[in-house]
């Protein structure tokens, strides 16, 4: 690091010497020799600075991540190892009922996963539906407006969603909860005393579903838009309806993208704090009940937000310990997402980060221009063997499937 800085601090002289002594590398002292050994190309100060900055940024993010993990682990250890039943700081207040750390964090992990799962159940189909409408059904003008509106949803602060949940969604869901409790109360998830204030995990998860819509929609939309136009048109030309075309050419192409969009949405749902803390009436227990007042499993993030201000030193450590668990869960979710994406044919991994501005060669074809499309397809097809990972074979198979 230090020699990089020294090089950086003396750039004008080194450039000068380089310019004047090209070809006589041995005569210019050690620094000159070092410069010349880099292949003799002129190295401008900007290159050093930029390379230093970008490398530094990359290193920094790893240091930050490692630092956070280290902080979580070090802070959590006293609470994890403490005897909760005899410790004066831990057998009072919110942690009084728990004999050890794991019995405290267990229900919280369940609550976190459970609320996020319900949110995903509502949010993912709607999000994918919106994305499909924008990419394949809506008139172009409506599509851009709709896309803009969905992105706007991401900018709404979660506390606003929380207040919306309290004032609008909670009362709105009370009649539904009453009906579910009266008619479907024999199903465990609708059992228990029905809520009177509406402060249920159902309301919380519904708001959460709205909050994860933008992330699922925008990623799915980008992926749907990248479906090779030729595949779609081939499907249509072979007599497929719009829905069959989507089923046979868009979905297979976008499958792993949808999965990763959904898992990113899950990650958002796992960490959501304020809206959950405001809407749900929590209890630290493992429960699957959706419409009760006092049996909604608390989530990790909301529990930290609610209890941090009054926590004793060790209770703070315990809360940080629960944060560590959330960190591990998020890491696991992201890893699973990556495994799923990588396990599929490479196509989506390659094409996803590229975004809509640089789609594969096939989608550059103007719509309707079938002759040129065919021509380019032939070219692309012939070159395909030389470019692995460009376009996978799966959509093609589907088109063949459509033929028969």
């Amino acid at each position: 690091m230090s020699d990089k800085i020294s090089v950086q601090s003396a750039p004008p002289s080194s450039t000068d010497t380089l310019g004047s002594t090209t070809g006589t590398a041995s005569g210019g002292g050690p620094q000159n020799a070092a410069d010349a050994s880099r292949g003799g190309t002129r190295v401008r100060p900007g290159d050093f600075i930029f390379r230093f900055l970008s490398t530094g940024s990359a290193v920094l993010i790893m240091i930050i991540l490692a630092g956070v993990a280290l902080f979580l682990i070090i802070s959590a250890i006293p609470a994890i190892t403490a005897d909760w039943s005899t410790n004066d700081q831990l057998n009072t207040g919110p942690t009084a009922a728990f004999p050890n750390f794991w019995s405290y964090v267990g229900p919280l992990i369940w609550g976190t996963l459970w609320s996020a799962a319900i949110a995903l159940l509502f949010g993912a189909p709607v999000g994918i539906g919106i994305a499909l409408f924008i990419s394949h059904y809506a008139p172009r003008r409506l599509a851009s407006v709709l896309g803009y509106l969905v992105d706007l949803l991401a900018a709404v602060p979660s506390i606003v969603f929380g207040l919306w949940g309290i004032i609008v969604i909670r009362p709105f869901l009370i009649p539904l909860s009453d009906w579910l409790g009266a008619n479907l109360g024999w199903i465990p998830i609708f059992g228990g005393p029905v809520t009177t204030t509406g402060s249920t995990i159902l309301a919380g998860a519904l708001v959460l579903a709205v909050m994860i819509l933008p992330i699922i929609t925008s990623i799915s939309r980008e992926i749907f838009l990248q479906t090779p136009r030729l595949h779609e048109e081939a499907a249509l030309a072979l007599g497929a309806t719009r829905w069959e075309m989507i089923r046979m050419s868009v979905f297979p192409y976008a499958k792993s993208g949808i999965v990763s969009a959904t898992l990113l949405g899950l990650g958002r749902a796992l960490g959501e704090t304020m809206a959950i803390a405001l809407i749900i009436s929590p209890a630290i227990l493992v429960s699957v009940k959706l419409i009760t007042e006092g049996q909604n499993s608390q989530t990790i993030a909301a529990n930290i937000a609610l209890n941090f201000p009054i926590a004793t030193t060790l209770q703070r450590d315990a809360l940080i310990g629960t944060g560590l668990m959330l960190f591990v869960i998020s890491l696991a979710v992201n890893s699973i997402a990556r495994v799923i994406v990588n396990a599929k044919p490479r196509k989506s991994k390659k094409s996803k980060p590229a975004g809509p501005s640089t789609p594969g060669p096939l989608s550059r074809i103007p719509a309707g221009d079938f002759a040129s499309a065919t021509a380019i397809d032939v070219v692309a097809g012939s070159s395909r063997s030389g470019k692995p990972g460009d376009e996978g074979p799966t959509p093609e198979e589907d088109i063949e499937g459509a033929r028969y």
Binding site: G198, S199, A277, S281, E293, N307, P309, I310
Partner: protein
């Protein structure tokens, strides 16, 4: 919109910003002047404020005190312009004490006095004298409910404990009927609403229940609500008030100054009023010092049975070092808390934050303790 247009050039923007800031400072100035002149005729128990002080007081803690702190700071700054007081209510009582113990606050606002172990750690920053708990804020815990067709509800202490411990589950229970002769009670199920976040209000309320109805309420006083089951838990006092109002057959507890339009039940036929809370403090509070000059209060709830005393008072403290590390900060804190603990300061809070004034007798003690702060 208008602002956007004038912001076309930097100079105009700057002028506008200056004009705006001038505007806002003058308007708050006027507001506080009216507040203080309105009460200035009342005898001040503290020495006149030293208007020449300058500096910054950093404090934080109890959110129950927050409205009163705002009123105090505004009124104080009307007289002492050079002192900035920052009170961070987001910390809550526990966070306030933690930060104060870490040495980053000049005083902490807390709904509970320092515990013995906290008093020990306070000696690290305050010397052997430790910290002083100064009661400066008095309010009551209100019991709010929503029950269609019932506009006046009275609850005895025992009934209250039975309701909140979930021993009574419907509104037409004989125990409630006995407290409300002549009132037709519906058979609606009772939903109790409590705080989901840790809270000094919960601490005060559970303290009252465990002391006043020990045979029914068997849980110790705690800042986290101890009852599980069919309990609606809400974030913050405003969350409780909202949930009680939105439900039916709901009953909850909140700081009286925060209940807004919600209907409050009378406890043992006593309705909350500022006078009733002050009378309750005068009748039942005894000082249980943890050190020299400390004024931690303990309520003897058995004395709160009269018709003019509110049975569930809530007292909140400002906690200072008996010896500051920096004498200049000591001077600032003494000046500000001296104002807070004056009868003028108490009336400012009563008028603007809805709290009840601390009795003069206790204020005198607070000011005497404050005198010893170095």
């Amino acid at each position: 919109m208008k602002f956007k247009n004038v912001a076309a050039t930097g100079a105009v923007f700057l002028t506008a910003a200056l004009a705006l800031s001038a505007c806002s400072s003058s308007s708050t100035g006027t507001a506080s002047t009216t507040a203080s002149t309105g009460t200035a005729s009342a005898a001040a128990t503290s020495a006149p404020l030293d208007a020449s002080l300058t500096g910054t007081i950093t404090a934080g803690g109890s959110s129950a005190q927050a409205n009163a702190e705002t009123a105090w700071i505004t009124a104080y700054n009307a007289q002492v312009k050079g002192v900035t007081v920052n009170y961070d209510k987001s910390q809550g009582s526990g966070g306030g004490v933690t930060n104060w113990l870490a040495g980053s606050y000049d005083f902490a606002g807390s709904d509970a006095p320092l515990k013995a172990d906290q008093q020990t750690s306070a000696q690290a920053i305050c010397g052997t004298g430790g910290g002083l708990n100064l009661p400066v804020y008095l309010d009551g815990v209100a019991i709010i409910y929503k029950l269609d067709g019932v506009t006046n509800l009275n609850l005895s202490t025992d009934t209250l404990a039975k309701i909140f411990s979930l021993a009574i589950t419907t509104w037409n229970d004989p125990a409630i009927a006995a407290d409300n002769p002549g009132v037709t009670l519906p058979s609606t199920a009772i939903t109790t609403v409590a705080r989901s976040d840790g809270s000094g209000t919960t601490q005060n309320f559970t303290n009252f229940l465990s002391a006043a109805a020990p045979s029914i309420w068997t849980n110790p006083a705690s800042n986290a609500w101890p009852i599980t089951g069919n309990v609606s838990s809400q974030k913050g006092g405003s969350g409780v008030v909202q949930a009680v109002g939105a439900g039916s057959g709901t009953i909850g507890y909140a700081d009286h100054s925060a209940i807004g339009d919600a209907t409050a039940a009378t406890i043992n036929k006593v309705e909350f009023s500022q006078d009733a809370a002050t009378a309750a403090f005068a009748a039942a509070a005894t000082t249980v010092p943890t050190g020299t000059g400390d004024l931690s209060q303990k309520f003897d709830y058995s004395k709160l049975t009269g018709t003019d005393v509110y049975p569930i008072p809530l007292v909140s403290y400002q906690i200072v070092c008996s010896q500051f590390k920096d004498p200049a900060q000591a001077k600032l804190a003494k000046s500000f808390i001296g104002f807070v603990a004056s009868s003028v300061g108490q009336k400012v809070a009563a008028k603007n934050a809805g709290s009840a004034p601390i009795p003069d007798e206790m204020l005198t003690k607070v000011l005497a303790s404050l005198e010893t702060v170095k």
